[in-house]
Symmetry: C2
Subunit: 131 residues, 2 copies
Amino acid sequence: MTARMTRQRTAVVEALDELADFRSAQQLHEALRARGESVGLATVYRALQALAEASEVDVLRAEDGESLYRRCARREHHHHLVCRMCGRTVEIDGPTVEAWASKVAAAQGFDDIEHTIELWGTCADCRAAAH
Amino acid sequence: MTARMTRQRTAVVEALDELADFRSAQQLHEALRARGESVGLATVYRALQALAEASEVDVLRAEDGESLYRRCARREHHHHLVCRMCGRTVEIDGPTVEAWASKVAAAQGFDDIEHTIELWGTCADCRAAAH
DNA sequence: CGATCTTTGACAATCGTTCTCAACAAGCGT
DNA sequence: ACGCTTGTTGAGAACGATTGTCAAAGATCG
Ligand SMILES: [Zn+2]
Ligand SMILES: [Zn+2]
Ligand SMILES: [Zn+2]
Ligand SMILES: [Zn+2]
């Protein structure tokens, strides 16, 4: 009933901290394997899922539908500007947008409102690399 | 080289118009079958893909990753407030948000900026139905 | 009508993600 | 340190949405 601390779980968290940007489960699995800290793929998925439920990591969907995970600095609600190519991420605050979203939704009689606000682009480095 | 008008393609467009709200490819396929206008599932996917490329339909991803399609009234850029349960959709304009999004992204040196802004909720009818 | 050339559809294949379940190991009380 | 209990792991199967394959069907045009 209590969450147990295992080698695998700490390894996943370490990999997230080390990589810093939004990464897919498979990328993390590969990174762990490369470092010698082998962890089963299913276990990586389970760890990320648990971390997401505990709000320890943020999850977002890439354009192709793959889930990307990141350990953000703030625990509070925020959004992201993400590089499509390398995953580089900037955390974004949008007080105006938050207010706008809830007002618009309420005006239409909708409940249990959630919003998805993400910005995608190509970061300066990736633009340079593409020459 | 030219797009041909076929029974299947017009059937898909008709189903979209009739259903009005965001629907998955499989839901549309089922709706067509129910009406007797049988169309292959792969064909439904191909038709939706073509329509999306031509900006004739909007596509968005449900929380479970499934793609949902809708024939919106406006062709111009806009966003959506969607009922999680029944797919009921309200088209949303957000001039403030548009300005905010491009300013924030540019300030970070990102290029080719796109944004995802979608609102999810439970519509009045679905809330009532859940009694 | 006939030739051309896109489109269709049943089915296989892909791919991210979840499930299964026997082997394993944390945490705990002794 | 030693078992017990019970959550956790991992290899592989299963899943589900989507896409690829390719021979047969049909839209368009002269
Ligand atoms: Zn980049
Ligand atoms: Zn729309
Ligand atoms: Zn509803
Ligand atoms: Zn917009």
